[in-house]
Amino acid sequence: MKFGDILLSALRGVTANKLRSILTMLGVLIGVGAVILLMAVGNGSAQRVNSLITSLGTNTLTIRPNGGSGSSEITLAVADKLAHAGLGHVSEVVPESTTSLTVSSTSASEEDVSIIGTSSNYFKVATATVASGSAFTSADVTDAAKVAVIGSTLASDLYPTGSALGQSVDVDGTPFTVVGILAAQSSTGFNDPNVEVIAPVTRIQRSYTGFGALSALLAQSKTSAGVNAAQGELGVELNQLLGVSTTTAAAASAANSTTSLPYSITNASTLLSTAEASATSFTVLLAAVAAISLLVGGIGVTNVMLVTVTERTREIGIRKALGATRGAVLGQFLAEAAILTLLGGVLGVVVAVFLAQFQINGTQPVIIGYSIPLALGVSVAIGIFFGVYPAGRAAAMRPIQALRSI
């Protein structure tokens, strides 16, 4: 019996009971589709997180105080000295003094708006860009002027009918003139970046946060490759400015820990690797759930093949009486199982590729190339693996017994 004949008789077997074959294929279809689609969703959300972190700027470094006090506080003076220290790999250092206050216009009011006090160079370092109007100037910072750049959502909330530009907004009772409105940004964390007020750090400190420690410093390295060098330079300079003893600094660097230092420095690449690790485990989790449905689909194939063998015992007897060898009978039933799983698998791929065109819960799935041959291969392997037992039973039947059955 030739391969083509085996395939043909298997095809006849599959089409003999169409409804059953379709339902079996549906099981495999769902399994394969789920594996590919869920892996694509995991991959898509990982890519989204990555692009968000990259949009923060891969050459941005964040320096946060570690609860220092007195001479080890990171004050505006320290920020100024750091900015003018002439570090080789650092292009900018800007202060950040943040708080959260109620902002209102004559007609509307927003609670818990994040207020960022910073210098005019902030817009070079951070991803925020001014869409209309202009940023405040260094003169505004020196004068502690009551001017602000506000987020796009906040602008339209406070001035729903006209432009907020040139209007006055009240920040906890102090009026600020809106000189610029930010371009809309995608959210990276808990705070909506489109609901914020950016004003000169001097004004924010004078009116709200006081002249003590800043919330953070943002620094920018000249190149993305120089991020780690910039981090090192900033550390050395900060140790000097804050009066950290060389022994403490050496111990901290040896232990690779910043807990004993009055500050900690992070950059986007460390965030990125953390996010990638969690995204990978998320994808694996999704794939594991999908793999279970693929397994269930495989068991469905076994079930159907067992029923088919029982139903067609007489046919097996006839075929054996006409000279079918064990191999030919085994081949036919294995081919049937393989056809069921392969067809189901291919349809599953089609469905998954189709569904991946749509956003799922805000995530655009991105199909992982290897997941298609993987899911297809696994489904056919399952078909053959689970088909071997029923097919073996069919092939091992003695013709006389098989013929006697009704």
């Binding site: 019996m1 030739k2 004949d5 006849r12 077997g13 003999a16 007489r314 046919e315 007897g317 006839i318 075929r319 054996k320 009486a321 006409l322 000279g323 079918a324 060898t325 064990r326 191999g327 030919a328 003695r398 013709p399 006389i400 013929l403």
Partner: protein, 250 residues
């Protein structure tokens, strides 16, 4: 024809001391208790006996569907007991053409596809297979029904397809198990006429039946009872009788 002349032609079947046991202990059944039987090429043999006489068991052994507990069985000079599963499949495919009481056609396949089936297992190429299957259907006058499925055919037509399927490999022996058991008298007549014709062409036919009218058409009648051969009649004029019937039928 004398017995020595028959031996010269050569025996298609040679059974010697065949015993068949089923089950174990108290439930053991001694279905065949020492069968000796030679069948020459071109013989038309009927095996008769009441139910439980062991004729179905004998038929299964002759058809290589089952293996004897003891004794030797030579089919076309080949000792079947020595063959493995694969070789037995080949023997069933090449040497034996089965005709069953319940036709045993594959219901999903057309008459032509059913007829082709043994050739497919014999590894015959597609075009050649189709040609030979059509020839076999022509021999039973069913070419006009080649594309019909079994359920679209009458019982007599189904059995004719089964005969075509048995003939298609040009086997050493046709083995028929109560071939007219499920048929009305007209179809029975039709099928028996085909057997007569095949016998006249020199086919070796072994037919298992409990009907006298069927057995009468054969050249030789073997009677079984309780797993033993109790009589073995040859009538020299049967051959001519078969010829005569064929002539009058034309």
């Amino acid at each position: 024809m004398t017995d020595s002349a028959r031996a010269a032609i050569g025996n298609v079947l040679e059974l010697h001391g065949i015993h068949q046991l089923y089950g174990t202990g108290d439930a053991q059944v001694h279905a065949l208790r020492g069968i000796d039987l030679d069948v020459a090429a071109g013989e038309y043999l009927a095996i008769m006996g009441p139910s439980g006489s062991g004729k179905s068991t004998l038929m299964n052994l002759l058809g290589c569907l089952d293996v004897a507990s003891s004794g030797t069985y030579k089919l076309a000079g080949e000792d079947v007991n020595d063959l493995d599963e694969r070789e037995l499949a080949r023997v069933r495919n090449r040497e034996i053409g089965f005709i069953f009481q319940s036709f045993n056609l594959v219901s999903r396949m057309t008459a032509l596809q059913n007829t082709e089936l043994p050739l497919a297992y014999g590894g015959v190429k597609y075009a050649e297979r189709k040609r030979r299957a059509m020839e076999a259907l022509e021999a039973v006058n069913l070419t006009h029904r080649a594309d019909h499925r079994p359920q679209q055919l009458s019982g007599g037509q189904q059995q004719r397809v089964a005969i075509a399927r048995a003939l298609v490999t040009n086997p050493t022996m046709l083995l028929a198990d109560e071939p007219t058991g499920n048929l009305d008298s007209e179809s029975t007549h039709e099928i028996l006429a085909i057997f007569d014709q095949l016998a006249a062409q020199g086919r070796t036919i072994v037919i298992i039946t409990h009907e006298e009218t069927v057995a009468e058409r054969a050249h030789r009648i073997v009677n079984l009872s309780d797993g033993l051969i109790i009589s073995d009649h040859r009538s020299p004029d049967r051959t001519t009788a078969a010829h005569k019937r064929l002539e009058t039928a034309r």
